[in-house]
Symmetry: C2
Subunit: 364 residues, 2 copies
């Protein structure tokens, strides 16, 4: 059977290996596995969220409230925006998918950073769009502008803080760039790790409300998968002017968020203190990674997220290091598929991080 | 901002009103609302599923096992098929979306029954495909064949039992039709309600294993949203030959099923006795609807599902009846948007059904 020709160019996303897979493939006891590969919150989610979900277990048989009034109202309050400036996705991933399906088509151009979140390219290729990339490892707004002028892309992705490298754009630099972009180009600002950047450095903090008031061509993305500790529940969101949200709704499948996920995300927003504690701990533990890398003379990219990226010296191969750690039950992310000889490690609990240092000691 | 022109033709899906919405709009106490609008299992899901989900609440922070090995292995065992003949979607809805995105494109033709599940058309229009419909209310295989010959569609949808009418195809008739279709046309057999049809009448039962062994151009769809009582958890599946599954995987987003949903669906398959009891009760209660309709001289379409469709006489307007019931806290589905003067009612518990008869008594 023949399928659409665009499919031939799509490579599948390489996800962090789940614990179950390491148990199956390496026969390691589940309790001895540490996963620092998917930037999950090592403290999980708020206990209030767990209680709330337990309380509505009986509702698993009922279709979700597709108007998502509770979650939208909580998010609207958090950001000072209206419900019609919001769309909820099964992870911010799905909002990226909506945006590409609504705006791009066969032959459209999509501009993104040289190294950035892999799903931008995968979704772009699904509709036959052409991906244009910068050459700089960090987002370079001058290079973005020059490529914008040359290619006139229909969508520009700015990932800040950037995944998988952890660096973040200066918010003012980003805004100055968007000011120069024409209003028919959709600029997607992916803030999946913005909670971390905001904590560490106010100059990196992007305010979605200000952004969409200033620009009617910007879509801001946020997620519950990282700081809010709900990676397994698949809830993210997009914030934009009403016409953009309306277009994304046209390609949104009904009931795209589960009944339990809607409740979990809504209640997560009621316990910001839990999230703040987790973020504070994250940056305290990050200092240990910086000290470890310093001691080993390994370059660490300054991170505004809940992970660190270690650029390895030539003599050390990132795939081999990742594999050696995996055999010992430590799951981290090899970045060789991004063209980097580097590993990405999620900041875990104190105990998990100590285990990482201990296992890396003879390897690095 | 301009979006893809295909979006202009898309109407959004009209879902059954959730209980929360009726509480908000009509100020009716939540406990006094009966929802017989979305074909949910009125007995919910198996208690074993609830226990299993409660036990893994701590895993909400962890990304799902994207290989879905547990669920795929359980489904493979149930149907006697291999894991690579399976794709899991966020509801069978999402598998429909995958199939259309993988196979159809701008100008493709998609053939479907005159009255059938609304999402086929919505997804088809998202990629700019042209929808071709039969004229008969029930699937008429001769008419399907004649339209197939005339239009050479890239996809044909057969919904059996059909939603929202409840009638089902004779399995042998369907197979004889598929035999005449060329192997590059994707035939999608939507069996969302197949568990009910199989119970009521063996001649309507479609066996996915036989189907995909006989045809390499058929995709069978199943769901956990109906008989398995997990409408809120968004889990469905597609069964097909490996090349079709591989193509659908190209357009599948990673982590499309939540951690809790994967567990819920896997465990649901361990308690088939619960499902069998619910189905038996369904058809016992259905007899009461048949008697009610008979007494009122209202035509009821013979149903192989967990709902009944009442075709109203001209003097009764389905929208007005649905609205009158809604004001009394009874949510059912008005089928006027499908071009029918009819209402669709989910078979509920004995108490819920009695309440429906009581409220309908003065209206019909």
């Amino acid at each position: 059977m023949n399928f659409n020709s665009a499919l031939e160019n799509i490579k599948s996303y390489e996800a962090g290996k789940p614990i179950e897979l390491v148990v199956r493939e390496y026969g390691i006891d589940k309790d001895h596995i540490v996963k620092l590969a998917s930037n999950e919150n090592p403290f999980g989610c708020s206990p209030k969220v767990k209680d709330a979900v337990r309380n509505i277990i009986d509702n698993m048989s009922l279709y979700p409230d597709d108007s998502m009034v509770k979650l939208k109202s909580a998010l609207g309050k958090k950001y000072g925006i209206r419900s019609d400036e919001l769309v909820i996705g099964a992870g911010s991933d799905q909002v990226i998918e909506f945006a590409i399906h609504a705006k791009a088509h066969n032959g459209s151009k999509v501009l993104m950073n040289s190294v950035t979140f892999a799903m931008y390219e995968i979704y772009a290729k699904q509709v036959g769009a052409v991906v244009v990339r910068t050459t700089s490892r960090e987002h370079n707004m001058e290079e973005f502008y020059s490529l914008y002028q040359e290619h006139k892309p229909s969508i520009i992705f700015l990932c800040t803080p950037n995944n998988p490298t952890g660096d973040a754009l200066d918010a003012q630099d980003m805004i100055s760039f968007i000011e120069k972009v024409d209003s028919d180009t959709l600029v997607i600002v992916d803030g999946a790790y913005m909670e971390y950047a905001r904590f560490k450095d106010a100059s990196k903090a992007v305010e979605p409300k200000d952004l969409i008031q200033k620009f009617d061509n910007v879509l801001f993305l946020g997620t519950f998968s990282k700081a809010y500790g709900l990676g397994g529940m698949r809830v993210g969101y997009g914030i934009a002017s009403e016409p953009i949200i309306k277009a994304l709704y046209k390609v949104r499948p009904p009931f795209n968020i589960t009944t339990l996920s809607l409740e979990a995300a809504s209640v997560a927003l009621e316990d910001e203190a839990f999230v703040a504690e987790c973020i504070a701990d994250n940056f305290k533990e990050m200092k240990r990674y910086e000290a470890f890398a310093d001691g080993k003379k390994i370059q660490i990219i300054e991170s505004y997220t809940n992970f660190v990226t270690l650029s390895l010296p030539q003599a050390k191969n990132s795939s081999e290091i990742a594999q050696a750690l995996l055999k010992k039950g430590m799951i981290i992310r090899d970045l060789s598929s991004y063209g980097l000889n580097a590993i990405r490690v999620t900041i875990g609990t104190q105990v998990q991080n100590s285990r990482f240092f201990e296992l890396c000691e003879p390897l690095l």
